[in-house]
């Protein structure tokens, strides 16, 4: 039967017994129940990751030996441990890592971030996102393939050569070589990131240039249309001018015609008067 809730004191006392190596069989059962209580939160995180197309490997249960060692190594209590349940995603490069971490922050609002790339832990570089679901932390390890390669070497050599290698101990030569390899990976990934940023900037510049060219083409077209329109207006104005000239000329002609008519009428009146007078003289 899995317990729904555990008191912090109960869990921390269990942690103390694990730390001291004095745990009993019932302690292992209690720890197992505690692990299983993270199942729902773990499922939520893994389901979200799969829905976004990621292929995480989930760790349903952190081993007892790893929990006990972590309690001995660090000054945290068992109830504060954030990686009881978790998963790991290995991506191709640091650019993909950046993108995925940004997406995870959006998927799990309030998630905390442990970025061990600029400040490595004994050479270990990765990003850990701690999502919290209903009060239960679930750790999502996001590693690049090179960071993962380094972590595998460090962990395996800790297993078979010296358990302290992983935490900065072990033979000097081996530790130094692992340190140099970690630095080389960091330098390469810095270059990789800078290169990607340069490519992105170049794309922005190319896009801007393309937009500028496009804008210029629009401007040119608009200018041509304006010029065309302007010429048309000019033509209209010219026609208007001609029409006005015509109107004035017509008006002038009309005046002339009226004047001529008046002269003619006057002459006609005079002619009629003259004829009337001549007619009277003949009678």
């Amino acid at each position: 039967m899995i317990k729904d809730a555990f008191s912090r004191t109960q869990i921390d006392r269990l942690g103390d017994r694990l730390k001291g190596g004095s745990h009993t069989e019932s302690d292992l059962r209690l720890l197992d129940d505690y692990r299983r209580s993270f199942g729902e939160a773990y499922e939520t995180v893994v389901r979200t990751l799969r829905q976004r197309g990621e292929v995480p490997t989930g760790r349903l249960a952190k081993s007892t030996v790893s929990i006990a060692e972590k309690l001995r190594r660090e000054s945290i209590r068992l109830s504060q441990m954030q990686d009881i349940a978790g998963c790991r995603i290995v991506v191709g490069n640091v650019v993909e890592q950046e993108q995925l971490v940004a997406s995870l922050k959006a998927d799990f609002p309030g998630a905390s971030l442990i970025d061990r790339r600029d400040h490595p832990s004994h050479g270990y570089r990765a990003v850990h996102v701690i999502a919290e679901i209903s009060g239960k932390p679930v750790e999502i390890q996001v590693r690049t393939s090179l960071q993962h390669m380094w972590a595998n070497l460090s962990e395996k050599s800790s297993d078979v050569l010296d358990p302290t290698i992983k935490y900065g101990g072990g033979p000097d030569e081996w530790r130094n070589r692992l340190g140099k390899l970690s630095e080389s990976v960091a330098a390469y990934e810095k270059f990789e990131k800078t290169h990607a940023e340069a490519v992105a900037s170049n794309e922005v510049i190319e896009k801007s240039h393309s937009k500028a060219v496009s804008s210029h083409e629009v401007f040119e077209k608009a200018t041509a249309e304006l010029l065309e329109h302007h010429l048309h207006e000019h033509e209209v104005e010219e026609i208007r001018g001609k029409l006005e000239d015509s109107r004035l000329r017509i008006e002038g002609l009309s005046k002339d015609l009226v004047a001529l008519w008046n002269v003619n009428a006057d002459l006609l009146t005079k002619a009629l008067s003259w004829l009337e007078k001549r007619k009277g003289e003949k009678q």
Binding site: G21, H23, E25, L28, R29, D32, R36, G39, V46, V55, P56, T57, G58, R59, L60, A61, K62, S63, T64, V65, S66, A68, C87, R88, I89, V90, S145, L146, H148, M149, W150, N152, L153, E155, K156, S157, D159, V160, L161, P163, P171, E173, W174, R177, K180, L181, S184, V185, Y188
Partner: protein, 101 residues
């Protein structure tokens, strides 16, 4: 799929490997606890063994993210060397000289 792995750290070898369908999660969890209880009954031997449950799309996916359980140090050094060459990461030619000791 769910994978149950009992790993002997000192030897760098898998002791127990079982796979379960996703629907057998409870069974996988019970099996994991069973191994741990058994190790505990045998004394301090259990301390050196990691007993973990991992869930992956396939065995290949598991190998990709948790290769440490499956490969020995020489294999990891070789693949690191190839990967480093591909990425342009400087490599130490004699890095693997102490491997396997």
């Amino acid at each position: 799929m769910i994978f149950l792995i009992e790993y002997n750290r000192g030897k760098g070898k898998i002791v127990t490997f079982r796979d379960f369908d996703d629907s057998q999660r409870r069974e996988a969890e019970d099996s994991r606890l069973g191994i741990e209880l058994d190790l505990n009954r045998k004394g301090r031997k259990g301390i050196d063994h990691e007993v973990v449950l991992l869930e992956a799309a396939s065995r290949d996916a598991l190998l990709r993210t948790h290769g440490r359980y499956f490969k020995d140090l020489d294999d990891l050094l070789k693949s690191a060397s190839q990967q480093g060459d591909g990425a342009g990461v400087s490599r130490e030619p004699e890095f693997g000289a102490e491997a396997g000791r």
